[in-house]
Every structure is written in structure tokens, then in C-alpha cells.
């Protein structure tokens, strides 16, 4: 072996294990949480310091201490919980109704290619309108209460679910359908035993997107007209330049979305047990 070759051979053996080792020490559940908590704490610390020392305007940007104070106040007088409940309920109801109706309609379109072809451009047209633009009309129709927020959330979520479900049904492996047909399946059996389960992963993936849209519908509805809810909280607080309260609303919205995301995760595990272990985590890409 020449000198160059022996150096080349020796180098990876020396460098790589050490690099991997350092990562391995931090890449544990505890290590990851420590990193996440640490970086958030650092961010809050810098923010607080910046506000105290006047590097940024506490009036415009708020400060962690102010946010904490405002959160404590609204928690103690019970108003925050009412807002959380209101917005979560609107968002969830809109999410469930819109996603269920949209998914079912999308799957049903598989049944008739004729109907699907007629409806497709209409769906595309409806989808290309920013649904938020409907908000004023929806409030005119459904009033300023729960119904209007749910309707707005439904208008957002149903179209997303419909397109996802229809596309997934269309993409279902034709060979699997051929197999079922050769075995004597009827159209309705092909639908129930091939199309629906084959589309389920895409439909569940759409749950995650629609969760966000459910919240968007609820919050935007509250922005426009409402007496309670987190959207109402954020909107009124910002018009009073009460930035701390705005931040409270935003953080709580984030927490709701975060919590619901884990609920969806659970649902996904229950609905798609076969998707759980796909392997590939050991790929060192």
C-alpha cells in the first residue's frame, strides 16, 4: 500500500466514529427534549432581556414576563378557558363535518366517471376562490354565533378533503381492482374493499392539513364578528395595543393545534396499523 492509500484508508476510520458518537449522546428522547426546551428558554431569555434593556419596543413586541402576567390574569378570571373552549369547539366541529363530508363526497365521485368529469371543473373553480373571502357572506347567512364559524371551517376543510379523497380513489392501484374483479367482486365490493382502504392514507394525511384549516375558519370567523373565542381575544387585544394578550391568544392557539396534532397521530395509528413499521430509519442518508 502506498502512503497516500494508507492515509485515505485511515482517515474515515478516525473521523467518522467520533462524529457519530457525539450525535448519539444527544440523540436520545431526553437529549432531544433538553435541546428543544433549551432553545425555547434561550429565545424567551433573549426576548425578555431585549425588552428590559430597550433593544426592542416592549409596547410593540411585548415581553415574556408581560405575557405571563396577562395569561395568569385571564386564567384566573376564567375568560381564557371560555375562549379556548369556544374556539376549539368551533374548529373541531368544522373539521369533523367538513372532513367527513368532503372525504365521503370525494370517494363517492369514484363511482361515476361521468359525474366526476362534470363536477371536476366546478370543484377546481370553488377551490380557487380564497374561502376566507366568503366569511362576510357566511356571517350574513349564519349570524354571529357558533354556526357561522363552523360553516366557515366547513367551507375550508370540505374542499380540501374532497380533492384529496377523490385523487386518492382515482390513484388506487388498477391491478388490485383487476384482481378483485377477476375474483368476482361487484363494483360496490371493489369500492369497499379496495378503493376505500387504498385511499385511507391520503385521507388521514389530509386530517392534519384540515386541522389547521378548521382553526383558520374559527379564528377568522371570530375576527369578523363574535363575543368570545381566541380570535376575538387576539383581535380586540390588538386593536387596544395590548400585545401581551395577543401573544397569549397566539400561544394558546398554537398549543391547541399542537395537542390536536397528537390526537390525529393516535387516530392515524388506529386507522392505519399497517403503515406503522415501514422501516428505513436505519438508512444513513
Amino acid at each position: 500500500m502506498t502512503r497516500v492509500e494508507s492515509q485515505l484508508a485511515a482517515r474515515p476510520a478516525k473521523v467518522q466514529p467520533r462524529k457519530r458518537h457525539r450525535r448519539a449522546r444527544l440523540d436520545t428522547p431526553l437529549g432531544r427534549v433538553a435541546l428543544q426546551v433549551g432553545s425555547i428558554a434561550l429565545l424567551l431569555g433573549v426576548w425578555e432581556a431585549a425588552a428590559r434593556f430597550g433593544w426592542i419596543s416592549a409596547f410593540l413586541f411585548g415581553s415574556p414576563a408581560g405575557i405571563y402576567e396577562s395569561a395568569r390574569r385571564s386564567l384566573l378570571d376564567g375568560s381564557l378557558l371560555v375562549d379556548v373552549w369556544t374556539t376549539s369547539f368551533e374548529a373541531l366541529l368544522g373539521f369533523v363535518i367538513g372532513t367527513a363530508a368532503g372525504s365521503l363526497a370525494g370517494l363517492a365521485l369514484w363511482y361515476s366517471r361521468f359525474v366526476a368529469r362534470v363536477v371536476e371543473p366546478l370543484i377546481v373553480a370553488f377551490n380557487s376562490v380564497p374561502k376566507i373571502a366568503f366569511a362576510p357572506v357566511i356571517i350574513l347567512w349564519f349570524g354571529t354565533g357558533l354556526l357561522a364559524k363552523v360553516a366557515l371551517a366547513v367551507s375550508l376543510t370540505s374542499i380540501v378533503a374532497l380533492i384529496a379523497a377523490y385523487q386518492a380513489a382515482k390513484d388506487a392501484d388498477p391491478d388490485l381492482q383487476r384482481l378483485a374483479l377477476a375474483l368476482g367482486a361487484t363494483k360496490s365490493q371493489v369500492f369497499r374493499k379496495i378503493i376505500v382502504p387504498a385511499s385511507l392514507p391520503a385521507i388521514v394525511a389530509c386530517f392534519r392539513i384540515n386541522l389547521g384549516f378548521g382553526l383558520v375558519g374559527a379564528v377568522v370567523g371570530e375576527f369578523i364578528s363574535s363575543q368570545r373565542g381566541l380570535g376575538h381575544l387576539v383581535f380586540t387585544a390588538s386593536s387596544l395595543y395590548d400585545i401581551s394578550t395577543v401573544w397569549v391568544g397566539l400561544f394558546v392557539l398554537m398549543a391547541i393545534g399542537f395537542a390536536l396534532y397528537f390526537v390525529i397521530d393516535r387516530i392515524e395509528r388506529a386507522l392505519l396499523p399497517w403503515k406503522l413499521d415501514r422501516g428505513g430509519h436505519d438508512l444513513n442518508v
Binding site: D175, L176, R178, L179, A180, L181, A182, L183, G184, A185, Q189, K193, I194, P197, A198, L200, L272, P273, W274, D277, R278
Partner: protein, 258 residues
């Protein structure tokens, strides 16, 4: 006795590049208990024949006569296997095996009992609750074979079922198939591009011509043993192999038919 007659079947497809005549008047018979392989140059429409027999495609003209009666296709009466195992990824091995029985409305309890029996016969006991993706290619194709056999079809339609497997697994599964075919006295139509496999397994080999496909030649294969290894060891095997290569105009290095 003739099980299935394919009579002057024609089929063409119209695509962007115009009309393509795929089958140009195809006629052949399949006898009861026959094992027929259909080979032909690639793209000659082997799979189209297969789909017409299975009742998944309608021929433009021509007819199918099954056990003396004119039929549209054999939907629900055939076992169907392709190169892809076509296992439903969302179903466990057991639930995949019972699919055909389920579609026929067999009560779940009876179907499951039968499936468990078959699975243990073919060495898959203990994998009932696994999902297909956890299985090797050979095991998956074995599950697909069980799913095909369990519905007790009159006719097995096999479209290159083993061509994606490594050679050893393929020999093994060919053996499993032959045993099952003997035991249950099945009639088999095997579509393949693999001349070697066609000779080793078949009683007869039908050679199709290029597009539009017609029957170019039919060979009766007479070997002492019809097991994957036994057949390939027969001195007459090479003769059939060469003759069929010649029919397909496979060129050797020197530019002459093999």
C-alpha cells in the same frame, strides 16, 4: 375434453398514436387438466389474452366457449396471479388469503379456518397476523398463490407469477404450484416470457406471433417428469428450449436463430 376455446379473438386499442391491433384472430383450445403456457415476443399481447379470458377486457370480436357454453369472460371463476403479488398492504396475511372467499360471501369463520389450514400447509403458519410488507418476496408470492388456490377456481390464470423472484425461490414456488395443480387437478394457463419456465411446467406451449398476435405454433411437451428440477434435467428439455427460442427468433451472437 375441451375446457375453454378461444375462437378468433381480435382486439385493438386506440391511443394517441392511432389504432394498434394487438390480437389478430386468436384461436386455441385449453383442455381439462391442461397446463398451457403462452409465450411470444414481448409486447405481443400476452397479457391482453389473459385479461380477455379473465373477463376484464372485452374482445372486439370472437368468442370464448367455456365447457360448451358461450361466455363473456370468466370473472369470478378464475384464479388470478400476476408478477406483482397484489397483496393488499392494509390486510394481514390471513385477511389477504380470505379475500376471494369474502367476496363470495363465505362466512368469516369458515373462511378463516380454511385459510389457517392452507397457510400451515404451505409453511406460513405464524405469519397470519403479519402485514405483507414484513414478508420476503417469495413468501408474499406464496401468500398470493394460497389466495388463488383457496377459492378453488376452475382455471388458474398466471401472468408471469414468478418472474420477479430469484431463481431458487422461483424453483421452489414452481414446485409448490405443480404439486397443488396435481393435487387439486387444476387447469392452468401460464403467460410467460420465460421459455425455460414454459418448457419445465407445461404440457403444451402456445407460441404467439408478433403484433397483431395469432397462434404461430403449438408444442406438446413430453418430458418424463414435470417437476421444476426434474423437467430441466430431462435430456429432451434442451431440444424444446432451442426449438422455442427459434420460434421467437431470438438471435444469438452469430446472428442466427438459436
Amino acid at each position: 375434453m375441451t375446457k375453454l376455446s378461444v375462437r378468433d379473438v381480435r382486439k385493438s386499442f386506440t391511443g394517441k398514436s392511432g389504432r394498434t391491433d394487438v390480437l389478430g384472430g386468436l384461436t386455441f383450445d385449453i383442455r381439462d387438466g391442461d397446463f398451457v403456457s403462452i409465450i411470444g415476443p414481448s409486447g405481443c399481447g400476452k397479457s391482453t389474452v389473459f385479461n380477455i379470458i379473465a373477463g376484464l377486457l372485452e374482445p372486439d370480436s370472437g368468442s370464448l366457449v367455456y365447457e360448451g357454453a358461450l361466455v363473456e369472460g370468466l370473472r369470478g371463476r378464475v384464479g388470478y396471479m400476476m408478477q406483482k403479488d397484489l397483496l393488499l398492504p392494509w390486510r394481514t396475511v390471513l385477511d389477504n388469503v380470505v379475500l376471494g372467499l369474502e367476496l363470495r360471501g363465505v362466512p368469516r369463520k369458515i373462511a378463516v379456518e380454511e385459510a389457517r389450514e392452507h397457510l400451515s400447509t404451505y409453511g406460513l403458519a405464524g405469519f397470519e397476523d403479519s402485514y405483507p410488507q414484513a414478508l420476503s418476496g417469495g413468501m408474499r408470492q406464496r401468500v398470493a398463490l394460497i389466495r388463488t388456490l383457496i377459492v378453488n377456481p376452475d382455471l388458474l390464470l398466471l401472468d408471469e407469477p414468478f418472474s420477479a423472484l430469484d431463481y431458487q425461490t422461483r424453483l421452489y414456488l414452481e414446485g409448490v404450484l405443480m404439486e397443488a395443480v396435481e393435487n387439486f387437478r387444476k387447469t392452468v394457463v401460464l403467460v410467460t416470457h420465460d421459455i425455460d419456465e414454459a418448457v419445465a411446467l407445461s404440457k403444451r406451449v402456445i407460441v404467439l406471433s408478433g403484433r397483431p398476435a395469432g397462434v404461430k405454433a403449438i408444442y406438446d411437451i413430453e418430458l418424463a417428469e414435470r417437476t421444476p428440477i426434474g423437467a430441466r434435467s430431462d435430456p429432451r428439455f434442451a431440444g424444446y428450449f432451442h426449438a422455442l427460442c427459434g420460434e421467437l427468433d431470438i438471435q444469438t451472437k452469430r446472428g442466427e436463430a438459436a
